[in-house]
């Protein structure tokens, strides 16, 4: 492109967008991308490919010519199947005509929800560490993100006591994401009940990102919307990416009070029109016949989870036991390194990629995210390399401390 002298593209860019992350983590990404032979524990998606019967359903629908737009809400059979699923799995009843919309992943659903309810200046409570999109989307929508740190002492659960400290008269929305990315934390029923009481007391609205709901290792999945009085106050966001290993299909959904849904569909119809029909057909097959696949993948994740937690603890990293998603979030404080130093040195010395905790908010400092959505063979090798690495750095720190005395 030849650029005419004097044209400054930057001047045209919205300052809010300009100031958004990524910044810090970008460099690390580039470093990982340019290193060869890396075992990556930094991937936030399943290592399984989409089960064959689901892919086949899509192939067949293409052969039959399903290549058109669908209803803005998504194909009716899929909305019906989602309603049945939410009823069976969580005891939630939604009207598939007026309360469920298919979106381009949970990602779009989060964006729609926030844009639909935020008035400029509204405060959005965001427990941290958390998935990277909530804060930027809040800012773009003119909201004010208020991060609520969670700690390893609380097993990275959001406690009502902590939440209440951050509530102000301008608080309007609470974003919940449990099971959590990056910590793997879940909320117990009593923790959810205590939060629900605050939500009622302060008249808050909840956006609950339940994309990892199925990946739970301590019992059946739970939905925050299923708590008494919470369904109408909760915009439930979920999708197929994680549970069915369908990240590339870009299908998710939102279930909410009919008024919220009617408002959200306005944005969706103008910006997106509809989720891709191929993905919708595949999602329908997933809901109809994919249960055994989910159970199989969850059982395998669970085995790897136990192995990784045990290995990390053995090598001397403090690690709380995650009960959901496919991440562990060990503390690396014992090594005396910061999260970024740890991740960079681990990459350089042992070619294992992990994500530094601060990528998910400042309360992630001192931690790293390791994904166990990686084959058992790779995980075992990665743990071996990490063990060597940690032993070296613990020894080094030990010497340094001894020297100081």
């Amino acid at each position: 492109m030849t650029i005419t002298c004097g044209f400054e593209a930057q001047r045209f860019i919205n300052p809010v967008v300009k100031s958004l992350p990524p910044s810090g983590i970008r460099r690390f990404f580039d470093l990982v991308a340019s290193t060869r032979g890396v075992i990556s524990l930094g991937v936030g998606e399943p290592d399984f490919v989409t089960p064959w019967h689901i892919r086949e359903a899509c192939v067949q629908s293409l052969e039959r010519g399903y290549t058109m737009y669908t209803s803005n809400y998504g194909i009716p059979e899929l909305r019906q199947a989602i309603a049945c699923y939410l009823e069976d799995r969580f005891g939630l009843s939604y009207d598939p005509q007026r309360q469920i919309m298919v979106t381009i992943g949970a990602s779009e659903a989060v964006d729609l929800a926030l844009r639909t309810v935020i008035n400029p200046g509204d405060e959005v409570l965001i427990p941290e560490p958390c998935y990277v999109s909530y804060k930027p989307i809040t800012l773009i929508a003119g909201g004010v993100p208020v991060t609520v740190p969670t700690t390893m002492e609380d097993e990275f659960a959001l406690t009502a006591a902590r939440l209440e400290k951050y509530i102000t008269p301008r608080s309007k929305i609470l974003i919940l994401c449990f099971p959590n990315n990056p910590t793997g934390a879940v909320l117990t029923d009593s923790e959810m009940e205590a939060i629900a009481a605050l939500v009622k007391k302060y008249n808050l609205l909840v956006i609950s990102d339940e994309i990892y709901a199925e990946l739970r290792y301590d019992g059946p999945p739970r939905s925050f919307a299923a708590l008494p009085g919470m369904q109408e106050r909760t915009i439930l966001v979920s999708g197929f990416s994680k549970a069915f290993a369908m990240t590339g299909w870009r299908v998710g959904y939102v279930a909410a009070h009919p008024d919220f849904l009617a408002a959200m569909v306005k944005i969706h119809q103008y910006t997106i029109l509809c989720a891709p029909v191929m993905g919708q057909v595949a999602a329908l097959e997933a809901l109809r016949h994919g249960r055994p696949d989910v159970d199989r993948m969850v059982a395998e994740y669970d085995q790897r989870r136990r192995l990784v937690v045990s290995r990390l603890r053995e090598m001397g990293l403090e690690c709380f036991e995650p009960r959901g998603a496919f991440y562990v979030f060990p503390s690396i404080k014992a090594t005396g390194l910061t999260s970024n130093e740890f991740a960079e040195a681990l990459l350089k010395e042992e070619k294992v990629a992990v994500v530094p905790g601060p990528a998910f908010g400042s309360s992630g400092e001192g931690y790293i995210r390791c994904s166990y959505a990686t084959s058992l063979a790779e995980l075992t090798e990665a743990m071996k390399r990490m063990e060597r690495f940690v032993a070296r750095h613990l020894a080094f720190k030990g010497r340094a401390v001894a020297h100081a005395y």
């Binding site: 990556s40 998606e45 998935y131 192995l307």
Partner: protein, 160 residues
């Protein structure tokens, strides 16, 4: 519990009792005991390695042979199956439903060696009525494992 242990071992014979115990949330000594017991009881027969011999450059020829036999009084097919499976050239023997009785996998160094084995040993056995030999030209998938090189992990190396 045995089933879970076996499923893990079937896919990865290198796992040790400790790793299995952690993965299944069971006591290590119990897992070790169960494995030993299953070895004793011949539930676990062997720790097997699935090899792509073609890729290893070994010239092996294999054939699946449909064998029709006359079942014998009292012992049915077992006796003749026994006579067949004792040959070291024979790698597996299955009793089949349908238009023939035994499916026999024979392996040898060359086409000729396998063909000779069939015509001279197998076909001449008493009670064997007929044989049909199908040479295996290519292995696509065996024991649930696809032989063709699978493309490497296509995911982005880091994804938040």
């Amino acid at each position: 519990m045995r089933k879970k242990i076996l499923e893990l071992l079937e896919n990865n014979g290198k796992l040790n009792a400790k790793e299995i115990a952690i993965m299944l949330a069971l006591p290590v000594d119990q897992v070790a005991r169960e494995i030993a017991a299953m070895e004793q009881e011949k539930i676990i027969l062997r720790y097997h390695t699935l090899i792509n011999w073609e890729k290893a450059g070994a010239e092996e020829v294999a054939a699946l042979i449909d064998v029709k036999v006359t079942p014998q009084r009292d012992v049915g097919f077992d006796e003749i199956a026994g006579r067949i499976y004792r040959y070291p050239e024979v790698k597996s023997v299955f009793l089949m439903s349908g238009s023939y009785d035994l499916s026999v996998l024979v392996q040898g160094k060359s086409l000729k060696e396998v063909a000779t084995f069939v015509s001279q040993k197998l076909a001449t056995l008493e009670h064997v009525q007929s044989t049909v030999t199908h040479f295996i030209l290519k292995r696509y998938k065996q024991d649930g494992v696809i032989f063709e090189d699978q493309e490497a992990d296509r995911r982005q190396v880091l994804q938040l």
